[in-house]
Symmetry: C2
Subunit: 198 residues, 2 copies
């Protein structure tokens, strides 16, 4: 089992976090992102989208952090992190789309601009980030977890870039329910941190 990884990537961190919660050993392959290793043909053979993370297990090569969470949760986690029943599976799936779209194009984009110099409309990204944080804060106002009354990969998929939002000029002080939820995730057995988490 190999994770092609970049330490400051919240998308890579999602996978490290789930593997830590499940107590699974794996090989961490650090990719020289600054040196452009992800732009090489060798990397594109693993992932034509030239993005991290990439996960290899038993001959399978997967791209996309949400897809890798689904794979690891289903293969090694039983029903603990991802339900098999249609309604529970779909409830979790809603937040995997939110992670891939709204969270990525808001808080993640703002951080890519501020921390890594990406050229993008950072004001628009920050507006989106705050809008999404408002929706999360309202949703979490009377819930401990995003769905099903327990921690699932929905929480793991959405948590990193919301907790990293201050690194993109998006303070989260005004979102108490989001901050309490971040605290609950950090208190889960097996939790591992990454640098920059609020």
């Amino acid at each position: 089992m190999e994770l092609y990884d970049l330490e400051p990537s919240g998308n890579c961190y999602k996978i490290r976090l789930l593997l830590a919660f499940l107590g699974i050993d794996y090989e961490l392959k650090s990719v020289d992102f600054m040196g452009g290793e992800h732009k090489t043909d060798r990397f594109a053979e693993m992932n034509p989208f030239r993005e991290l993370p990439v996960f290899k297990d038993d001959g399978l090569v997967l791209r996309d952090s949400q897809a890798i969470l689904v794979y690891v949760a289903r293969k090694y986690g039983g029903d603990a992190w991802l339900p098999t029943a249609p309604d529970g599976l779909a409830r979790v799936m809603q937040w995997l789309s939110t992670a891939a779209n709204d969270v990525a194009r808001g808080a993640n984009d703002a951080r890519l601009h501020d921390k890594f110099g990406y050229e993008l409309d950072v004001e628009q990204a920050r507006r989106k980030a705050h809008h999404v944080l408002e929706l999360f804060d309202e949703h979490l106002n009377d819930r401990d977890w995003l769905e099903l009354g327990r921690s699932t990969i929905a929480d793991i998929a959405c948590f990193p870039y919301l907790a990293l939002a201050p690194e993109g000029g998006v303070p989260i002080d005004d979102y108490p329910a989001v901050r309490a939820w971040i605290g609950r995730i950090k208190a889960l057995p097996g939790f591992v941190p990454m640098s920059g988490l609020a």
Copy 2:
């Protein structure tokens, strides 16, 4: 079973298409999008993200087209449109993320600008759309379907906005493998069209 729907929405069309392939009867609830019905409190109670589609079944209320595809496929389609095994499930999941992110922020955004007057950076959206179309064209060059050698909800999730790309000033003439794939989807038993499809 109720689908809160907007005819010209590719995201709503995904659900109509899967339900048609499965031969499932449902109630179509047309939402007065131009009149701002999705901005009302009553709509926000169903979907705080105030987006379409919304799907109701048996007391469950789901937002997000990808999540609804997962639900319908798993509950009513057996393994036909979404595998249960971890590797197949995750392979399909990769493309649901691509639909929620790359396809949405490329071809879909360009069409939102041109057809519905959304204020956004249409040149950037068109560049993203062509980049994604190149990746799809390469992937489909030696494959009939996105994954598993058969039609799945991966194809249903990605197909509408790529086939609607010309409505956003993104011609698809230079992507022969994508056009052949669109033709295969259109030839599936039970296929229903929507207006504007290439």
